[in-house]
Symmetry: C2
Subunit: 462 residues, 2 copies
């Protein structure tokens, strides 16, 4: 520490003596830890520093170089920590945290029909969605997620809470054929979605999206209308795709095509589209998605817990598909920890291919950061620590017994680190959590509100 302070002073004095330009004052400097940039060169600065001005990253370099150029109004010592891009969760249903652990280990139809659907029918209200999103936001901030993609009902409530909590969100209003808590018909759902998009157009944190639930819960007409709306409003599309073998069977029976093939045949695929799961994609499906630049959100924990299967992530990546990671909703995971999703993506790929080299640590981290940003069409703004990008980053403690010794920070981030190791979460230059204290939400109020609502959930499935 003394040595580092000394270098800092030396650099400042040096600048004066040599008549260099005076140091620029910036809002925040993080310095001392290993900076894992996730940029295209794979730079790891150990130690490194990041300078932030307002919502932007203005410098990523050695502590000495940053100290020579910048003076921070605020500074965070990240010694013993990794500084890295915030994690990007490309698929979840935030308010479903209120159903976590409500029912597990059941056949899919029993789980849905005896628990999830009745609970949703009786409990999903704007108030419920707000409380659930607050709990989800608390958990995401605590575990290092800075951007998330969501599909649920009353998405405008989710957007309002997300903005308050300070998280970045690609938030899709769900459209589904049967009566939903926020829309009696798909037409009503489409109209709600359009209003929602206009309400959050040009927001600094929220990207509104269209979220047609899936090909098996929507008719052709509504699927086409959803795509047309997204094209008209220039917003992303989120959809479930080939999650289960049942979906594949149903599609083949009804449409004589795979889900991806059917959606191709009706002209559904287009830019900035994220297909969640893709467990049962065929090589021909992968060729379609690659050609149409459709990204896949891989949800390894949900796919294992619900016994959906093992997505062929290595084959997808080879086919040129951008693959991001997701946790799925907490009803089927049961948490929103992207570090666990990242580890599971590495583990599952090795099992699925029989090759321990599949999805190595660096690839898993890419999927959790820059590839997630690519999947959401936001890689020019987020997903890596580079000058000019938004300041969405986290610091992660690396000194616990289970992280000792450390030969390679990338290995440790994937194989022995959890969300609980995150110390600082910053989005758009704003500190959302400092030393594990969340600053934008009242933790005890969020938790007690969630516990109160859980009583209503219990009553709904009794």
């Amino acid at each position: 520490m003394l040595l580092r302070a000394y270098a800092f002073v030396l650099a400042a004095v040096g600048a004066l003596v040599l008549g260099q330009a005076p140091r620029q004052t910036v809002s925040l400097i993080l310095t001392g830890g290993a900076v894992v940039t996730m940029d295209s060169a794979g730079r790891v600065l150990s130690p490194g520093a990041v300078a932030i001005e307002g919502r932007d990253i203005v410098g990523v370099d050695t502590p000495e170089a940053i100290a020579a150029r910048y003076s921070g109004r605020e500074s965070i010592d990240t010694t013993g920590q990794v500084v890295m891009p915030g994690l990007i969760n490309t698929h979840t249903h935030a308010p479903m945290v209120l159903y976590r652990g409500l029912a597990d280990d059941l056949a899919l139809m029993d789980w849905l029909q005896k628990y999830i659907f009745p609970a949703e029918a009786k409990t999903v209200t704007p108030e419920f969605v707000r409380a659930g999103t607050r709990l989800a936001a608390l958990e995401m901030i605590e575990s290092g997620t800075t951007t998330y993609a969501d599909m649920y009902y009353f998405e405008e409530e989710i957007a309002a809470v997300t903005r308050e909590a300070g998280l970045r969100g690609v938030l899709g209003q769900t459209i589904i054929q049967f009566p939903a808590p926020d829309a009696k018909t798909p037409a009503e759902g489409l109209a709600r979605t359009e209003r929602f998009i206009k309400q959050f157009a040009a927001d600094d944190l929220i990207v509104p999206a269209v979220a047609p639930h899936s090909m098996y819960t929507l008719d052709t007409k509504t699927l086409k209308a959803a795509r047309a709306l997204a094209d008209r409003e220039h917003v992303p599309v989120l959809i479930h795709l080939s999650e289960t073998s049942d979906e594949l069977k149903t599609s083949k029976t009804t449409h004589k095509a795979t889900p991806a093939g059917y959606l191709e045949s009706i002209g559904f695929w287009g830019p900035r589209t994220i297909a969640a799961h893709g467990v049962w994609l065929t090589p021909a499906d992968m060729a379609i998605l690659s050609r149409r630049h459709v990204a896949v959100s891989h949800n390894p924990e949900s796919n294992m817990k619900l016994a959906s299967g093992a997505a062929k992530v290595t084959a997808m990546r080879t086919a040129g598909i951008v693959v991001g990671l997701g946790t799925d909703g907490a009803a089927s995971n049961n948490d929103l920890d992207m570090f666990e999703a990242t580890r599971q993506a590495a583990f599952l790929a090795k099992l699925q291919t029989g090759d321990p080299r599949a999805v190595p640590a660096r690839a898993a981290l890419q999927m959790a950061t820059i590839d997630g940003a690519r999947a959401l069409g936001m890689d020019r703004a987020i997903g890596s620590l580079e000058t000019g990008k938004r300041a969405d980053l986290i610091t992660v403690s690396m000194t616990s017994a289970r992280q000792t010794p450390m030969y390679d920070p990338l290995s440790h981030l994937v194989y022995v680190t959890r969300g609980d190791d995150v110390r600082t979460t910053i989005v758009n230059g704003r500190i959302l959590m400092r030393d594990r204290k969340v600053l934008t939400l009242d933790e005890s109020q969020v938790l007690s509100e969630a516990r109160a609502l859980a009583e209503k959930v219990k009553a709904a499935v009794r």
Copy 2:
């Protein structure tokens, strides 16, 4: 809290008024949290209390009933926590924590021949084994493991450190055909093992064991000698079995039999034997193990990370085999967190069978506790919270955002809980960790010692 104190006083006064027997003073009472007993009736007391006298559990009941009968010299308020049996890790190589993250994502032979074998040849000394075991013990105590089964070299050093740290261990001196760090020949290994067994006979915490490495690294003569030694000394046998498809192929080529079949043919199988992995067991193999009362240690994380395959745990359990859980060594996992192993066992079974009902939360917890105790032949002493058993137990915080709301403590213990949630670890009635402060090891010294040795490891594989 007030209400609870009131009930306590009321019970005490009631006992006096009614002329009941005076309360027995015991060493420790844990009260207020949900007690997940893992007994054969599956009792969960919410709230509950546990009374401990010396090394034994003397009462498991409601807080009121315990308060009426016992007065604790010391008491721990477990409100907001689960009190449960300590976790039992049935397969690891403790000192290998010093190699964690040294090399990942490699083909098995590259990993072994370029990293693990050279590192072991150049760094494994008694000092290294002691330092590695201290680090492993620290991590195990911090993550709620109270008993572990180990196979490594210089096992007497591991035993000494384990006893100091206060953990319970079934510790197997490894016997292997090629020159090992602690024995040039298998004969020397057998002699070392015999000395080790005699040294730790009748220890309260250490159960010495014979650990012939595997059928593919030992000849028939040594395998038979290892079994004979175990029978003579009445100690357990630990062995790797059917971990990879290569092992299966080698066995079929060399012995015209599966590994389990070959070991059956030479009379190797006997009581108190734990076979680690069992990924490639056939139905005929399972019948042999069941008939011989051989237990299997399932290591789902290692099996996934090394791409060994998915063990057929449901089929094994159906065949009557006792299946415990293990982390394997941290070089192939990369941590010793049994909560992660438990979650992965539930996830992997669902994927392997295609049935989300496979290995439900309760079964996964059984494998991590009472079935682990059965596998080690110690279920009369440990593995559940019951009067008369040793006081090996942990308390686990259940109030984080990711654990909220809580509909079912068993679900949460498996699907959203980690080792870091453990607050208290007690073995044989001794508190090893209180409020996450480990009392039997000097954490900062253990970590700095490990970091110093890591430099030697780096040099060894350079």
